[in-house]
Amino acid sequence: MSRKIIALLLAVFMCLGVFAGCNNQTNQNSDKTNDGAQNTDSSFKVGAIYITSQNDTAGYTFAHHYGITTAMKNIGLSEDNLFIVDNIPEDKTQVSNAIDTLAGKGCNIIFGISFGYIDAFAEAAEKEEYKDIIFSHATGYKSNETNFNNYFGRIYQARYLTGIAAGLKALELQNPSIGYVAAYGTEYAETCSGINAFALGVQAVYPEAVVHVNKISTWGDETKERQAAEALIDTYNCCVIAQHCDSAQPQKVAEERKIFSCGYNSDMTKESPNAQLTSAIWNWPVYYQTAIEAAMNDPENFMENVGIYYGGLKENFVGISPVTDNCAEGTKEIIEKVSDMIISGEWDVFTGTKLSISETGEITKVTAATLDNTDSTVIAEDGTMYCYVGEDEDRALSASDASGIAFEHDAVIKGSMNYYVKGVVEG
């Protein structure tokens, strides 16, 4: 009995294998005919791998899904040309299999939105079969010269602007205590550069203010986010709550406690209409449109035309939601001025120069080293960036890594910033 079943199974397997072989050949032929028509809209296929469900209505995956679908609509690509594998955890086998699925569907460009997809993407891009597919990986740091890039944004620029709004509000209330619910702290450059930029924005208008960080050690957990915000308010009597986590719970807590808040990811005014000052937001369609158009029109030179992409305020890749009436008077004008300075390239957040903004809205540039809580220099007056290197006992600030490569400005995104600036307190 069982022997028969095994024999049957083997037979089925073999048949499938033969079929697969046949499909291979016929499809390679049809593929060649497709190549000629690659520039027409109808044949260009976009693939995407998501960390959570494509049907999410808020949060990280939602932001990317919105970005990709909006970009495709703008370009004139039909929804049928989008192929999605969702709920893929950061596991190499599962990500590789998802890539295989999308490649099998004939996708011309494949986006991966989560950091942990990095090695699976790097390996896939090197495979001979996938040479004509473009791989684009969010938040990573790996790339190659032909078909694999990474992308992220200078969200810290937007954070600085929200920091100004928070600082002005705190100044108006004469309460120097500001709360920040963070997914992680100094473990990730992404989170700590956001916290630092926010704090520098606060200090530009209210130098005595302190940013209290409460980290929840996960990117999203509604209960923990809520508890963290409540703890900040109860412990430090914070008057403004900012956040770097997925849901809008901290905003809702601020609304309930009748204090003020700065959102993240998308405009969170609807979650906290009476508390919201302004949110730091991502405009993902900006990148996705750039990338898809480049891959459609000139896939051979994708890396020359798009390459490693870190857009900021200038590209409108990041921004802030409209400044609400909850803000202190004059907030909008000050933010606009600073925003113009960043867009024009006149000034940026992590340089040796800081801004000092008076109550009347006058902006003065101050050249001074940025210090951390131990008064060590983390960004020198000339803009040299430092970073902690070494293990726990002999951790020391250094301007370069072990192999002597200097930390450049993009390190803020790529991941070497691992300290808080003065005035940021964790716990």
């Binding site: 390679q28 999605i84 969702d86 955890p89 295989d100 490649a103 099998g104 473990e187 990730y188």
Partner: protein, 376 residues
């Protein structure tokens, strides 16, 4: 006077032929697929397009079809081994629901071997060492529970369940903590990310044209045959089923129940650990979602197959096709995400358990004649 019979009674039946059992189970799966089709149609997805893609795991019109088969095998092998291992303890009515934890222990230990010794040992020795360490460490992780059960009568369900989370959080700790001692993480990344194994720790594959056959598939099918023999033809297997039927009978027959429980649990957990080893040596790295839920899915597979190793082979293949197939089929339809696989799996489980019930019991209604007799 005799007590009145209830209106409906459930009566055990013993006369159900095998062929009818097979047919009713196939019918149950078809009913589930039918319900799925109605659900799909309700959300305006063509069920035929969806199921075509699902049952062929997306290999039609696919120039990389061989990759889909490789993906299927990577999912199938750990599930098959885990389900077989769980069936061993379930047969004994020992509820090992710690498959997740034992899988993770196996994965962590074999990753330790791969990362620390992989560079200095030849490939065959590394792989054997990984398999041995993975199996033994997971075996001990399971043995502890059996020991407590035998010695102090603790509840194995709760203990294995809790040990799952201990293993999972240990793995997460390794995955997130950057420190000098933490060899699990890649040295080159600033953000914590698991290191890739040295090449000597990569599982062998046999190239057949473009398709590369992972040899763990061969080993898993061999294991299936061995466990069939072990359960049906050996003294150990007999002891397991006697202990499962009645511990008192086993004791009366002079069996050392404690020893049998500990031995079987060790074997079960060790096999699951081996599955963990196979998975990481195929993936070439650890991850915090390394189990792919096989510890849970394996329980379903074992039950659907009524703890029969041959049925487990069929069921785990079906569940794997369902999983992998749903993923590829769902890519085309924005309204469906991968959760549909869970839904369909749930419906199949429900209908098959229903069929199982019907094959084992029959529902008897009170007969009028009987009533009349009683009244007199």
């Amino acid at each position: 006077m005799k007590t009145k019979q209830p209106f409906v009674r459930i009566v055990r039946r013993t006369d159900f032929p095998l062929w009818a059992m097979i047919i009713i189970n196939i019918a149950a799966v078809l009913v589930a697929v039918g319900i799925g089709a109605i659900l799909l149609a309700a959300i305006k997805v063509d069920p035929f397009v969806y199921y075509k893609d699902m049952f062929t795991i997306g290999t039609i019109d696919n120039r990389f079809a061989y990759k889909n088969f490789e993906g299927l095998i990577e999912f199938f092998v750990p599930l098959l081994i885990t389900s077989l291992a769980l069936a061993l303890t379930f047969k004994m009515k020992f509820w090992n629901i710690g498959g997740e934890g034992q899988f993770i222990m196996g994965a962590i230990s074999s990753a330790t071997v791969a990362l620390l010794l992989g560079n200095s040992l030849p490939s065959w020795l590394t792989l054997i060492m990984m398999a041995v360490c993975g199996a033994v460490s997971a075996g001990i992780y399971g043995l502890v529970v059996a020991f407590f059960k035998v010695k102090w009568g603790t509840n194995e369900t709760l203990m294995t369940l809790m040990l799952n989370y201990i293993a999972l959080y240990a793995l997460k700790y390794f995955g997130e903590t950057q420190a000098g001692w933490n060899f699990f993480l890649s040295g080159e990344s600033v953000r914590p990310v698991f290191a890739t194994f040295p090449e000597s720790a990569w599982m062998y594959t046999i190239k057949i044209g473009k398709f590369s056959l992972n040899i763990t598939l061969v080993i898993a099918i061999l294991l299936c045959a061995l466990i069939y023999i072990y359960m049906k033809k050996t003294k150990h297997g007999y002891e397991i089923s006697v202990v499962g039927d009645s511990q008192s009978t086993a004791k009366y027959a002079g069996m050392k129940v404690g020893r049998i429980v500990m031995r079987t649990m060790f074997l079960s957990a060790a096999l699951i650990g081996l599955a963990g080893t196979f998975y990481v040596s195929t993936a070439h790295s650890l991850s915090t979602s390394v189990t792919n839920n096989v510890g849970w899915t394996g329980i379903i597979v074992a039950w659907l197959s009524r703890l029969n190793p041959v049925m487990i082979l069929v069921t785990s293949l079906l569940i794997s096709v369902l999983r992998v197939g749903c993923q590829t089929a769902a890519t085309n339809f924005p309204v469906i995400d991968s959760n549909f696989a869970d839904l369909l799996q749930g419906i199949i489980l429900f209908t098959v358990l229903m069929a199982d019930f019907l094959t084992r019991f029959k529902i008897v209604f009170r007969k009028n004649t009987e009533k009349e007799v009683e009244d007199k």
